[in-house]
C-alpha cells in the first residue's frame, strides 16, 4: 500500500510515521489518491538516467523508533526529518528476520539472503553480494564498487564464498579504524577505551583474516591521500563514523564508484549502556546522512544521477521485554529489535511518500538490481516496486 503525503509538512509526516505502525493507514488522509497513484507506470520508466549511481548507508547498531521518529525522539534527527524525508520515499516497516548481529545482518543486507554464519567470525557471506552481482552482470571494474565499514569483522563483506562469484568480483573494502590503527602502530594507543570503541559488544577481536581490504599504501594510492594527511585529518574528527564518511567522500572524489556502501557504527556505543552516548550516536548519524546527501548533490559525478538508501540494519530491544535491557542491546528478537525503516532519495524517486506495508531487509538487493540493471539470482527478497 502506498500513501502519498505530498503537501504534509515534515513534522506531520514524522507524526504519522511515529504512530503505531498498524494504525498508520488510518492516520493518513487521501488513501484513495494513494490507490490511484499506485496504478501509475513503474517508476523506473519515469527516469532511468545513464550512469546511475547508488549510495547505501546502513547504521550498524540500529536506533529505536522512540529515540528517532516518535515525538520525544524527533529532536535527535532534525536532518532526517527536515531535509531528507521531504525528498524521500520512506518505508516505515522494514523487518529483519535474520540473526541480529551487526556483521551477519549487514552481510544479509548485502546478499539479500539471511546469512547464518557466526557473527564474530571473519568469514565471507555464503551468498553472492550485491557488489558481485553488480560487477559480474554489468562487467564493471573493481574500482566501481566500494565498502567503507567499521573494522569489527567487516573485512570479508566485499565478496562472498560463492563459487560462481566470489574472488575477484567483489567490492574493495576500506576499514578506516583499522587503517588508523596501522598508521599509529608505532605510537601506542589508549588501551581499553580503544577496545571499547572498536567493538562495543565484544571488546576487541578484530578478525585477522584477509579479505578484499585495502592497506595503508593502497589507501594512499587510491585516495591520493598520504598517511600523514590521513592521520592528521583523523585527529580533527570526533568519532569513527566521521572518519568513515571522510574516507567515503575521498572515494567519491577520486574514484566516483557507481556502488558505494557505507556502514556507520557509532550508535552501537549503546552496548556500553550509556544512553547519552547512544543519543549522540543517533544525532551524529543524522548529521552525517545529511552530509553524505549534500556531498552527492555537489559532486559532478554524482549530482542528479545518484539514488541513496538509508537504513539501520535492525532495531534494538524494547524496554518492555524482560529478556533485554532496553536500548542497550538487540538480543531478544522482539518486534522492536527486528523492525526498522528505510528511506530512499534520488532522481525519479517520489518525494514525501510513505510506504507502510511491511517489507524485508532482504528486499534491498533485488531493489538495487532492478534499479541498476543486474540480476541478484540467489537473493531471497523482492524488488520494492515503489522505488525500483
Amino acid at each position: 500500500m502506498l500513501n502519498y503525503l505530498k503537501g504534509l509538512t515534515p513534522h506531520q509526516i514524522a507524526q504519522a510515521v511515529s504512530r503505531d505502525r498498524r494504525d498508520f493507514l488510518r492516520a493518513v488522509t487521501g488513501a484513495g489518491a494513494a490507490t490511484a497513484l499506485f496504478s501509475l507506470a513503474p517508476l523506473k520508466a519515469l527516469a532511468s538516467p545513464r550512469g546511475r549511481k547508488v549510495v547505501v548507508v546502513t547504521f550498524g547498531g540500529g536506533a529505536r523508533d522512540e529515540e528517532t521518529f516518535m515525538p520525544e525522539g524527533q529532536e535527535n534527527i532534525p536532518h532526517l526529518l527536515s531535509e531528507l524525508i521531504p525528498k524521500a520515499t520512506f518505508f516505515t516497516q522494514v523487518i529483519n528476520r535474520g540473526i541480529l548481529g551487526h556483521y551477519v545482518a549487514t552481510a544479509s543486507l548485502a546478499t539479500g539472503v539471511y546469512e547464518t554464519f557466526n557473527n564474530f567470525a571473519a568469514v565471507p557471506p555464503d551468498n553472492p553480494t550485491v557488489f558481485e552481482y553488480f560487477r559480474k552482470d554489468l562487467k564493471r571494474p573493481a574500482s566501481d564498487a566500494w565498502v567503507v565499514a567499521p573494522s569489527n569483522g567487516f573485512n570479508r563483506i566485499g565478496e562472498s564464498g560463492n563459487r560462481s562469484y566470489g574472488e575477484g568480483l567483489g567490492a574493495g573494502v576500506i576499514l578506516p579504524k583499522r587503517l588508523l590503527t596501522a598508521a599509529l602502530s608505532s605510537g601506542g594507543r589508549v588501551e581499553y577505551q580503544h577496545l571499547l570503541r572498536d567493538n562495543y559488544e565484544t571488546p576487541l577481536y578484530t578478525p585477522e583474516l584477509a579479505g578484499n581490504e585495502i592497506d595503508l599504501e593502497q589507501l594512499a594510492e587510491i585516495l591520493k591521500l598520504s598517511v600523514s594527511d590521513f592521520t592528521a585529518h583523523a585527529r580533527s574528527l570526533a568519532s569513527p563514523d566521521e572518519l568513515s564518511v571522510y574516507v567515503a567522500r575521498q572515494l567519491m572524489r577520486q574514484l566516483a564508484p557507481s556502488l558505494l556502501w557505507i556502514t556507520l557504527h557509532d550508535i552501537d556505543i549503546a552496548h556500553s549502556g550509556a544512553y547519552s552516548l547512544y543519543i549522540e550516536g543517533i544525532q551524529r548519524s543524522d548529521r552525517l546522512c545529511a552530509e553524505i546527501w549534500d556531498a552527492i548533490q555537489i559532486a559532478p559525478e554524482y549530482a542528479g544521477r545518484t539514488t541513496m538508501f538509508i537504513l539501520p540494519d535492525f532495531g534494538r530491544d524494547s524496554d518492555s521485554d524482560s529478556g533485554g535491557n532496553g536500548f542497550q542491546h538487540h538480543r531478544t528478537g522482539d518486534p522492536l529489535s527486528r523492525t526498522t525503516w528505510m528511506m530512499v532519495l534520488g532522481p525519479g524517486v517520489r518525494e514525501n511518500v510513505v510506504v507502510d506495508r511491511a517489507v524485508e531487509s532482504t528486499d534491498l538487493v533485488p531493489t538495487l538490481g532492478a534499479l541498476m540493471g543486474f540480476s541478484p539470482r540467489l537473493s531471497q527478497g523482492k524488488p520494492l516496486m515503489e522505488v525500483a
Partner: protein
C-alpha cells in the same frame, strides 16, 4: 548424552548444595528435553550462591515440574521438545558446562531460525508455572529510590519524561540534607525487616558509610581494584589470542571472586559472586559507573527481588575522543556529569520498569530525585498519574506520601 542416561554420579563436580539438589531430582531430569534441561541445570549449578528469592523460585520450579503427571509434563515441555538440535549440541557436556551449552544453543537457535519458537516455548512454560506457583509480594510494600544528577550545577534537559505519565512531578523539592533523609529511610526499613538481601544500597561513586548488617551495599568505587583486575585479565586473554569474543565470554563466566581479590568466605560469597557477575555479564559496567548502577539495580531487582532499593548515580568518565586515541597517551580521566545525567534519567526509568515486573507491583512505590536540586518524581498507588506539583516539600515529606 541424553537426559534419560543421567545418573546422580554425574553431578559430582557441582558445589555441595547444588549437587544435593540435582541428585534429589535426577528422576525428573531424565524426563526433560535436552533443549530445556541444561538451562535448568545452569540455575541449579549456581544454587550455592543464589539469593533466597532465587532459591525459592528454583525450588518451586522443581516442585512444580516434579508434581506434573507425565502427560502434563510432556505438554509443558512440548515447545522445547520440538527444537531441533545439532549432533554437536546433543553430545556437548551440558551437565558440567550448562552455561557454555546455553551460549552455543543460543547461537544455534538464531542461525537455524528457531529462536522465536524457543522464545514462545519459554513464555508458555513460564505462564504455566506462574499460574500454579505465582510469585509472592515482598513482606512490606516495595520502595525503589533513584538519585541522579550528582555534579550537575545547571540543567536544561527535561528530566523524567518517561516516568511523568506514571506519577507526580514535584518542582519545588527542598534539597537540604536530601540524600541523608533517603538513606535514613532505607536504613529504617532494613532495621524494621532485617531480611537477608531484602534491602539494597547501590552507589555509582563512593558509598556513604553506614552500619547496617541487613543492608546489602554495592558501590563502583569499592570495586575499583576488582574492576582493574578484571580488565587486566580480559586484556591478557585477548592478547593471548583466546579465540574470539565467545571464548572471552566463557572465560569471564568462570571468573571466581577470589581471582579478583574478593572473598569467597561464607557470608560474603553470595554478594561477592553477585558483584563479579555484574562486572562479567554486564556490558559497560567495568567502564562507566552509570552503566554499573543501572545494571546492578536491574540484576538486584531481578534476582534478589528486594523490598527496598536505593540506587545513586554518580558521574561516569567521559568517552575518550578520537584525538586522544591518536595521541597514544592516556590522559587524566575526566568526568561527564551532564552525559551521566541523561544516562541516569534512562537508568531511573529502566529501574522502575524492572521494579514493576515483580510481584506486588501495583502496591509498590518509586521515587527519583535530581540530587541537590528541586526536581523529583514520585509514583505510588496513593498518587495521581501524569500530574505536577508546585508545593514546597522536602524529601521526608515526599517519602511520607508514598510509603
Amino acid at each position: 548424552m541424553l537426559p534419560s542416561e543421567l545418573s546422580a554420579e554425574q553431578f559430582r563436580a557441582y558445589p555441595p548444595e547444588a549437587r544435593q539438589l540435582a541428585t534429589d531430582h535426577v528422576a525428573l531430569f531424565r524426563e526433560l528435553p535436552v533443549s530445556f534441561l541444561p538451562i535448568l541445570l545452569h540455575e541449579v549449578i549456581a544454587y550455592d550462591w543464589k539469593f533466597p528469592a532465587e532459591r525459592k523460585d528454583l525450588d518451586n520450579q522443581l516442585a512444580y515440574l516434579t508434581a506434573l503427571p507425565a502427560g502434563e509434563l510432556q505438554r509443558a515441555m512440548a515447545g522445547f521438545a520440538k527444537v531441533r538440535l545439532s549432533p554437536e549440541l546433543e553430545h556437548f557436556d551440558w551437565v558440567n558446562a550448562p552455561e557454555a551449552f546455553s551460549d552455543r544453543l543460543s547461537a544455534y537457535l538464531w542461525a537455524t531460525h528457531q529462536i522465536d519458537a524457543f522464545h514462545a516455548a519459554a513464555v508458555d512454560y513460564l505462564r504455566r508455572y506462574t499460574e500454579v506457583s505465582p510469585p509472592q509480594p515482598p513482606p512490606m510494600v516495595r520502595l525503589g529510590i533513584v538519585v541522579l544528577g550528582q555534579g550537575v550545577a545547571q540543567n536544561s534537559y527535561p528530566l523524567f519524561r518517561k516516568l511523568r505519565p506514571q506519577g507526580v512531578y514535584f518542582k519545588q523539592v527542598k534539597p537540604d540534607n536530601g540524600f541523608n533523609i533517603l538513606l535514613e529511610a532505607v536504613l529504617a526499613r532494613a532495621a524494621a525487616h532485617p531480611i537477608p538481601y531484602a534491602h539494597w544500597y547501590i552507589d555509582g561513586g563512593a558509598e556513604q558509610a553506614v552500619s547496617c548488617p541487613a543492608l546489602s551495599r554495592v558501590s563502583y568505587d569499592a570495586l575499583a581494584s576488582v574492576r582493574a583486575s578484571l580488565l587486566s585479565k580480559m586484556e591478557k586473554a585477548i592478547q593471548s589470542g583466546i579465540g574470539g569474543p565467545e571464548a572471552l565470554r566463557t572465560m569471564l563466566t568462570r571468573v571466581r571472586p577470589e581471582e579478583l581479590g574478593l572473598s569467597s568466605a561464607p557470608g560474603e560469597a553470595v554478594l561477592n559472586r553477585f558483584q563479579v557477575s555484574v562486572l562479567t555479564e554486564g556490558s559497560g559496567t567495568q567502564i562507566f559507573s552509570t552503566s554499573f548502577v543501572q545494571w546492578t539495580a536491574r540484576e538486584a531487582l531481578r534476582r534478589a527481588q528486594p523490598a527496598t532499593l536505593l540506587a545513586r548515580f554518580a558521574p561516569r568518565q567521559r568517552q575518550r575522543p578520537m584525538n586522544e586515541l591518536i595521541s597514544g597517551k592516556p590522559s587524566n580521566i575526566t568526568l561527564d556529569p551532564q552525559g551521566s545525567l541523561l544516562d541516569a534519567d534512562m537508568g531511573a526509568y529502566l529501574t522502575w520498569v524492572n521494579q514493576q515486573r515483580l510481584a506486588g507491583a501495583e502496591q509498590s512505590s518509586f521515587l527519583v530525585w535530581f540530587e541537590d536540586h528541586s526536581e523529583a518524581l514520585a509514583i505510588a498507588p496513593s498518587l495521581p498519574r501524569g500530574t505536577e506539583s508546585s508545593s514546597a516539600i522536602d524529601l521526608g515529606g515526599l517519602l511520607a506520601q508514598i510509603t
